[in-house]
């Protein structure tokens, strides 16, 4: 809702309506689901006629209609609330402490709180609809001791309400861990209805299983701590606890099968409505959008593909544009013609130039990111002289006063995280303005939490689906220095200064030290020693190590978190280049072929290097039923495969003509390998 206010034309014209349509559908699907819920929740084996008649009676009751209305309102509210949490680039915490920080983030707290409240509301509606012993919070006491009719606390009702809150919180928590709000794109295009039909059964199954786990956890929790909320509520509302009936936090009270069954069914309903909403939103938003390639009207110019591809404010627009590029390059000859066409007065291939430039710069940016990552990992593997370390330590010493600084230091002992500020600069090389700006934002608190990438602690807040992204994205400034593009392989392990010749890194990290550096003073030596000791002390503590140790392959996943965009760029470019062999009448593509080839080959080299790192090529365990989309975990493999296929697509089309293309010698060699099918 909030993010709809953005003035990007695409959000206004397309995404908004897609979001509204998905919400409409989830509301429309609600009544049948509710009637199914009532049907199941009133289930009784021994009185089938009572069951059916009670079911039919309930459907027509006023309270039911009121609850349905309330449920619809709750679903609509939650759907609009969740809109700002959807993202096309998942956030991948690199260590447990980063995950913890993500959970404790204010944004996430609000999310949890809202889900708690809505969960409670939904459960209240379910209680009202299911009637019977769940209907109200108060109930007349079974055995009134005084003369007047006493009002007691109905523990069943409270049990259900608390279950709703618990499930809401668990759902929100699972959302962070499983990246439920990550919107992934399908590998094939299908109509919305077919997609929904294909995944509806899985959704139901998954909700039921998830609800089972939540019920188990909740029952255990209630058994241990159930008396706390009970006394609290009865005190606040001045209700008495009926001592004549079993209290539910006893063993006997929880052995009630029908209670657990009803809890499970209503939990399934709760999760189903929410998951359905997420699914419908995903289906609607990822539907391909057909952009104009070129327009004859000036006012439409910014809605055309070449312009849209360079979009930096709205990631979803960028992703959809790249998807459209990949699709048009594969199966629409007429639109390809428009890409290859020349501008009417002047005869410049503006469309092709803009598209290819954007794709190439994105790929180059990825290459650079990989190189930077590899260099940091490589330099961390080696033992460093203490002087350099002291220097790097001073980088974070500004923050060492508070606890975060200590953690940061510990972390660097265990892993390479101390390098973070420096690395962040590297990654955002061209916009070094942002490098410093980001560090001032990050350093006091988040620097220790920040894993080795910008895709980390503070990222989910910065990368929602609709909001403008705050200069964080690495592809922001992607103008490449030719030096980096045509790197020699030996540059991999050289000192950092040759790496970042485009920008002047303001980082105090392990920057190249001038030869005439004055010797570190005694004081700094002493501080250094203390620090080593503290570090050593903490490194031995199991909990600290557990929290700060990096999750295997997480950094690799995080590096490739947005690689879906790169995959489309590769597919689009390679298909366009290969069809240009026959379709490009003016030879527009020929002029850019060398740069495209160079870009792809150097990316290939960087990817090869990356996959030689430990954990980079290990596969995550398979999970079959989960609402969260785990496709981001394997994006790097998809990128590697599609990169190779793209190069082969070009080489198998041009074959021996490629010898005439001027590429640097080392690329020439690699190209030859591809031509001979030896890669």
């Amino acid at each position: 809702m909030f993010s709809f206010n953005q003035n990007c034309w695409f959000i206004r014209k397309v995404v908004r309506w897609r979001g509204v349509a998905s919400i409409m559908w989830s509301v429309l699907l609600l009544p049948p689901i509710i009637s199914l819920l009532i049907f199941l929740i009133r289930f009784s084996v021994f009185h089938p006629t009572n069951w059916i008649s009670g079911y039919l009676g309930l459907l027509t009751e006023v309270s039911t209609l009121f609850s349905v209305f309330l449920l619809c309102a709750a679903v609509i509210f939650l759907a609009f609330f969740n809109l700002q949490y959807y993202t096309v680039v998942p956030s991948i915490p690199c260590s447990r402490v980063a995950l913890l920080a993500e959970v404790l983030h204010l944004r996430q707290c609000i999310h949890s709180l809202v889900h708690c409240a809505v969960g409670m509301l939904i459960m209240w509606c379910v209680c009202v609809m299911s009637g019977g012993r769940y209907r109200t919070l108060q109930s007349p006491c079974a055995r009134s001791e005084s003369d007047g009719v006493d009002v007691c606390l109905n523990e069943y009702h409270m049990f259900m309400l608390l279950a709703g809150a618990f499930m809401g919180y668990s759902y929100s928590l699972m959302g962070v861990v499983q990246n439920v709000h990550y919107v992934s794109f399908q590998i094939i295009q299908q109509y919305k209805y077919m997609r929904f039909k294909g995944s509806a059964w899985g959704l139901l199954k998954c909700s039921a299983v998830q609800s089972l786990y939540f019920v188990r956890n909740y029952v255990i929790l209630y058994f241990l701590l159930g008396h706390v909320p009970r006394t609290w509520i009865s005190n606040i509302l001045n209700l008495r606890v009926d001592s004549s009936v079993h209290s539910l936090d006893s063993f006997g009270g929880l052995c009630d099968v029908s209670l657990v069954y009803q809890l499970w069914i209503s939990g399934t309903f709760l999760l189903l409505t929410w998951n359905l909403n997420v699914l419908l939103f995903r289906i609607y938003v990822t539907e391909p959008y057909r952009f104009l390639v070129q327009s004859s009207f000036a006012e439409d110019a910014e809605e055309c593909l070449p312009k849209v591809l360079t979009e930096k404010n709205s990631l979803v627009l960028k992703f959809l544009a790249l998807q459209d590029l990949a699709l048009l390059s594969q199966n629409s000859p007429s639109r390809r013609q428009e890409v290859f066409s020349l501008s009417q007065p002047g005869g410049h291939p503006h469309n092709w130039n803009a598209i290819s430039k954007e794709c190439v710069s994105m790929l180059n940016e990825l290459t650079q990111r990989l190189i930077a990552h590899h260099d940091t990992v490589a330099s961390n593997g080696r033992a460093k002289p203490p002087s350099e370390r002291s220097d790097s330590g001073s980088g974070s010493s500004s923050s060492s006063a508070d606890g975060g600084g200590v953690f940061g230091t510990v972390m660097s002992g265990a892993e390479e995280v101390l390098q973070t500020p420096h690395r962040n600069d590297l990654i955002r090389t061209p916009g070094s303005v942002f490098g410093s700006a980001v560090r001032t934002v990050n350093s006091p608190m988040t620097a220790p939490f920040t894993p080795d990438l910008p895709v980390s602690f503070s990222s989910p807040a910065l990368r929602p689906l609709f909001s403008p992204h705050v200069g964080q994205r690495p592809w922001l400034g992607s103008v490449q220095s030719p030096h980096v593009t045509r790197r020699n392989p030996k540059l991999w392990s050289t000192s950092p200064d040759s790496r970042t010749n485009g920008s002047s890194p303001p980082s105090p990290g392990p920057a190249p030290q001038p030869a005439g550096e004055p010797k570190p003073s005694f004081l700094s030596q002493w501080i250094q020693n203390r620090k080593e000791q503290v570090k050593g002390f903490f490194a031995k503590r199991v909990l600290v190590v557990y929290l700060f140790n990096k999750l295997p392959e997480a950094s690799s996943q995080a590096l490739f978190a947005d690689s879906q965009a790169h995959i489309w760029a590769l597919e689009g470019l390679s298909h366009l280049v290969s069809v240009s062999f026959s379709e490009d009448k003016y030879g527009v593509v020929q002029t850019t072929l060398p740069s495209i080839l160079c870009c792809m080959l150097s990316l290939q080299e960087a990817v090869d290097r990356h996959f030689k790192l430990p954990h980079a090529s290990s596969k995550p365990p398979k999970t079959w039923s989960s609402v969260g989309d785990s496709t981001y975990k394997t994006l790097r493999f998809a990128l590697r495969a599609s990169l190779k296929t793209s190069i082969y697509r070009i080489t198998s089309t041009f074959r021996e003509h490629l010898h005439a293309v001027s590429v640097p010698a080392e690329h020439q060699k690699r190209l030859q390998q591809f031509l001979e099918y030896k890669e």
Binding site: Q190, V579, F581, T634, F637, A641, T645, S652
Partner: protein
């Protein structure tokens, strides 16, 4: 109308078809083989005796070793793991002295109900009653798969490299450049029914196995003769086995797999190990898949009299009901060749040729069509043989006889493939029943260019659907014009038909020739 009677008579016994030159097939004894290629594909020989099939029957001898005095719990758990719900119920029903009576009774009732339902299901789709191995044999491209020493064969789409799957569940890879022949073995690589190299890739081979899909990454520069099983990626999906057919999309990005048991076919993004099931219930399974060379259509055959043509931009499908279909696709035309029983007698030595078609293969230039005709196992004179046609698709579709391909004495052809990139015409690779793999070059100058200039053209694979009860019905149709090899579409009208894809409605205009 082209009929087998117009064919030149098959070579004499003892003669082997060597190559085609000047529009006729040249025969000779195998020694005088003079081929004029730059790389002579090795003519291989795998003797049946050297290959030991795995003696691992479906219901293994595990029961003999299990201690039957396990507790009921253990046995139930084991039964659940081995045979699912039915096994569990069976176990409970059979151990009546340990469980209460009502449980035995109720599980017996449920079991009976389940069996009744499954028998009803199987009566709808009779192929479901087959066991795993039999099903693979039934739906594999290979003629009599179960006793064939060569189980599958795949040419690499771009280079001189091929893979051969053998009876002992190993795969050997032969390469023109090196003498190293890597042998691929994997724990899960059992009863290989199909293989295909990934297009636009040097090293990836997809293998359809009994329980899963294996994706081998064989580094072409590696010197190892026995790549570790770590080079293989295992793709599996519950309920999707045995896999009998796989097809890579020509752009190399997707892999589609099919199983006769599963009504859904799986579209895989292999690298990311993501699969999207495409479910259509009718037909009771998918037996065979084939992409059109331009990647815009995908054909999926089912065990019943139905096949589907998927359009691959939005993945919608059209149902094509037919008596039974074998399908061959071209970017422009979709040619449905229905099996037609054709039997006639060759004058020379009473050789019977004709009958059911096992498979079709079309060479990439579209000028030669090889048809593997099933023989009759009972009759001595009626053995399987390959008939080769010359084809032309423009201006009108034409079939001309070319000849029969014959191998050594008492060797039946089992499987055939055209090499996807032969320079001087077409190269047909035939796997024989005695374990020999031979290559028959057809030297000719292709009139048309290979279909697209984009990705190199791929071989057209054939698709096959099976018949259970309809043989009589078809032979009745066929008897009226015996002596004709008829390739026909879904309807029974005689003659050749092809229809442009935009007129695929079931009663759209047909063109008969």
């Amino acid at each position: 109308m082209c009929s087998l009677a117009l064919f030149p008579s098959p070579p004499l016994s003892g003669q082997v078809t060597l190559f085609e030159a000047n529009n006729e097939l040249v025969c000779g004894s195998s020694a005088e083989c003079s081929e004029k290629q730059q790389w002579t594909a090795p003519s291989l020989y795998f003797s049946r005796e050297t290959l030991k099939p795995h003696s691992r029957p479906e219901s293994s001898s595990k029961a003999a070793f299990l201690d039957h005095r396990d507790t009921l719990w253990m046995r139930s758990a084991g039964a659940w793991r081995d045979a699912g719900l039915a096994g569990l119920l069976d176990e409970i029903t059979n151990s009546s002295e340990e469980v209460p009576k009502w449980l035995t009774l109720s599980s017996g009732c449920v079991l009976a109900l389940l069996r009744w339902m499954s028998s009803f299901h199987c009566s709808l789709f009779p192929h479901l009653t087959l066991s795993g191995e039999d099903m693979v044999a039934e739906f594999s491209q290979v003629l009599s798969w179960s006793d064939s020493p060569i189980r599958s064969f795949a040419w690499h789409p771009h280079t001189d490299r091929f893979a051969v799957a053998l009876l002992d569940d190993s795969i050997k890879i032969y390469n023109s450049r090196s003498a190293i022949t890597p042998t691929l073995k994997h724990r899960l690589q059992r009863s290989v029914s199909a293989m295909q190299w990934k297009p636009l890739c040097a090293s990836t081979l997809a293998v359809a196995c009994h329980t899963c899909l294996l994706i081998w990454h064989v580094d072409p520069n590696s010197l190892s003769t026995r790549p570790s099983s770590g080079c293989a990626q295992v793709l599996s999906h519950p309920g999707h086995s045995p896999v009998t057919s796989i097809a890579w999309s020509p752009s190399g990005s997707l892999l589609v797999s099919a199983s006769p048991v599963d009504t859904a076919m799986m579209v895989w993004n292999v690298a990311a190990e993501i699969c999207v099931p495409l479910q259509r219930v009718g037909g009771g399974g998918v037996t065979n898949l084939s992409w059109s060379p331009d990647g815009s259509r995908l054909l999926a055959a089912t065990p019943s009299a139905l096949f589907r043509v998927w359009e691959t931009t939005m993945w919608t499908c059209e149902r094509w009901p037919c008596l039974k279909g074998r399908c061959q696709e071209d970017p422009r035309l979709l040619l449905v060749a229905d099996l037609s029983v054709t039997s006639f007698t060759e004058p020379e030595g009473e050789i019977i040729i004709g009958g059911e078609v096992q498979s079709l293969a079309w060479d990439p230039t579209g000028e030669r069509l090889a048809v593997l005709l099933k023989g009759n196992t009972e009759s001595v004179n009626h053995s399987a043989i390959i008939a080769v046609f010359k084809t032309r698709s423009s201006p009108i579709f034409e079939l001309l006889p070319c000849g029969f391909v014959k191998g050594e004495a008492r060797a039946e052809p089992r499987l055939m493939h055209f090499q996807p990139h032969f320079q001087h015409g077409a190269l047909l690779t035939v796997c024989w029943s005695n374990g020999r793999i031979s290559h028959v070059p057809f030297y000719f100058v292709a009139v048309g260019k290979p279909c697209t200039t984009g990705s190199p053209p791929l071989p057209h694979f054939t698709s096959k659907t099976e018949d259970y009860s309809e043989v009589d019905a078809v032979s009745g149709v066929v008897a009226q014009d015996a002596g004709t090899l008829r390739l026909q579409s879904g309807s029974c009208s005689p003659g050749f038909q092809y229809r442009p894809l935009n007129e695929v409605s079931s009663d759209g205009p047909h063109e008969d020739h």
